[in-house]
C-alpha cells in the first residue's frame, strides 16, 4: 500500500514537470527591425589587357594597372603587341592598345566621357591616348560617347626623340577619368 502511494506521487510529479516543459516550449517573442538604404547611381572604370596589345603587367581588372613596354628602339626588335612608327631622323613612336571598361549601376546615363591626363610633366617625350596628345597641363578628352559595359581599346603611345640616350627609362602615370553623360 505504501509503495503504491509513493508510485502515485512520483507519477503526479512527473506529469506536472512534463506539463511545465511543454508550456515553455511554445513561448514566443517578437521584434521589428526597420531597414533603410539610399541607393545612388555610380560608375566604375577598370583596365584590362587587350588581346592585341601588351599584357598589363599588374592590376588588370582594377583601376590601377601597370603597362610595361619593355625595351623599345627605333629600329631593333620590338615586342609583340607593340606597333612602331618612325619619323626618319627625328623620333619614333611605340603604341599598344589597353582596354578601358566603364560600367554603370542604377544609372540612366546613356554613355560616358573619358579623359586622360599625365601624372607628371614630360618635356622630352610625347604621350598620347587613342590619337590624342596627353599632357599634365589638362585632361584631354579621349571619347565623349563611351559605351558602358564594353571594353574600349585605347592605344597608349609614346613618342621618343632620337636624341634620347640608350638605356633611358621612361615612366609616367596616365590618369583616366570617366564621367557619366
Amino acid at each position: 500500500m505504501r509503495k503504491l502511494t509513493l508510485i502515485a506521487i512520483a507519477t503526479v510529479m512527473f506529469a506536472m514537470v512534463s506539463s511545465m516543459a511543454v508550456a515553455q516550449a511554445g513561448n514566443t517573442a517578437s521584434g521589428t527591425l526597420t531597414v533603410t538604404a539610399t541607393v545612388n547611381s555610380s560608375i566604375n572604370l577598370v583596365f584590362n589587357s587587350d588581346a592585341a596589345g601588351v599584357a598589363l603587367s599588374s592590376g588588370a581588372g582594377t583601376n590601377a594597372a601597370t603597362l610595361a613596354f619593355g625595351n623599345v628602339s627605333a629600329f631593333g626588335a620590338i615586342a609583340a603587341g607593340i606597333t612602331r612608327t618612325v619619323v626618319a631622323g627625328t623620333s619614333f613612336t611605340v603604341s599598344t592598345p589597353v582596354d578601358v571598361l566603364v560600367t554603370k549601376s542604377n544609372s540612366t546615363s546613356a554613355n560616358y566621357t573619358l579623359k586622360a591626363q599625365l601624372g607628371a610633366a614630360d618635356a622630352t617625350n610625347t604621350w598620347g591616348v587613342a590619337g590624342n596628345t596627353v599632357t599634365s597641363a589638362s585632361a584631354a578628352t579621349i571619347t565623349a560617347t563611351g559605351t558602358y559595359g564594353s571594353n574600349a581599346a585605347e592605344a597608349v603611345a609614346i613618342t621618343i626623340p632620337f636624341t634620347t640616350a640608350s638605356g633611358s627609362v621612361i615612366s609616367n602615370t596616365i590618369n583616366f577619368t570617366a564621367t557619366s553623360n
Binding site: T28, T34, N44
Partner: protein, 185 residues
C-alpha cells in the same frame, strides 16, 4: 484540615496553569501557505554589433538599421561592406545582434524566424544570414542561445538596373520592415 490542604493544592495548581497560559499568550505562531505560479517567458531585443552599423533604438524590440547611402562602386558607411558586385546586382552587408532573454523556463534554446512585413522595394532583396526573406516567415536559426548577443548578417542585394528598368529608385531612402520571432524550443 485535610480538605484545606486539598483546596490549597488545587489553588496552587490553578495558579500555575494560569501563569503558563498567560506566558503562552505572549507568543503566537502561524503558517501562511503562499502559492506562486512562475510563468516562463522570453523576450527579444536587437543590439548593435561592433562590426555593423549602429542601430537606432538599440536594446529594444523595435530597432532601426540604416545602411546609409549605398552604391555599386562608391564609398559606403562605416560598418557596411560590399561582398559582391556582379553585372546584374551587388550586395551590401552589415551585422546586427539578436538577444533573446528567457525568464522562468527550461527551454534549452530558441528558433528565430524572420519575414518581410511587406514586399521589398523594386530592385531590393533582403537576406538574414543565408536566408532570403519573403513575406512568409522562415527560420533563420534553430538553436539560438539565450541571454547572449547572437550575431546575424543583414544582406541587401540591389539590382544594378536603372530606375524604371527594374532597378531601385535612387537618391531617396527606401525602407523595409523585417519581423523577427523567437520561439522557445
Amino acid at each position: 484540615m485535610k480538605n484545606y490542604a486539598r483546596i490549597r493544592t488545587l489553588m496552587l495548581t490553578g495558579l500555575l496553569l494560569a501563569s503558563v497560559a498567560l506566558t503562552a499568550q505572549t507568543t503566537a505562531t502561524g503558517t501562511i501557505n503562499a502559492t506562486l505560479i512562475n510563468k516562463s517567458g522570453i523576450a527579444l531585443v536587437f543590439d548593435s554589433d561592433p562590426g555593423g552599423v549602429a542601430l537606432g533604438n538599440t536594446g529594444t524590440a523595435a530597432a532601426s538599421l540604416n545602411f546609409g547611402t549605398v552604391s555599386a562602386f562608391g564609398p559606403l558607411s562605416a560598418g557596411v561592406t560590399r561582398p559582391t558586385v556582379l553585372a546584374g546586382s551587388y550586395t551590401v552587408r552589415t551585422l546586427f545582434d539578436v538577444n533573446v532573454l528567457q525568464g522562468g523556463g527550461g527551454s534549452p534554446n530558441y528558433t528565430l524566424s524572420a519575414n518581410l512585413a511587406a514586399a521589398a522595394p523594386v530592385g531590393f532583396s533582403y537576406a538574414v544570414d543565408a536566408v532570403t526573406l519573403t513575406t512568409a516567415a522562415q527560420n533563420v536559426q534553430t538553436n539560438g542561445a539565450y541571454g547572449t548577443d547572437v550575431q546575424h548578417s543583414l544582406n541587401l542585394t540591389i539590382s544594378t538596373a536603372a530606375p524604371g528598368a527594374g532597378g531601385p529608385a535612387v537618391g531617396a531612402p527606401l525602407t523595409t520592415t523585417i519581423n523577427f520571432t523567437a520561439t522557445a524550443n
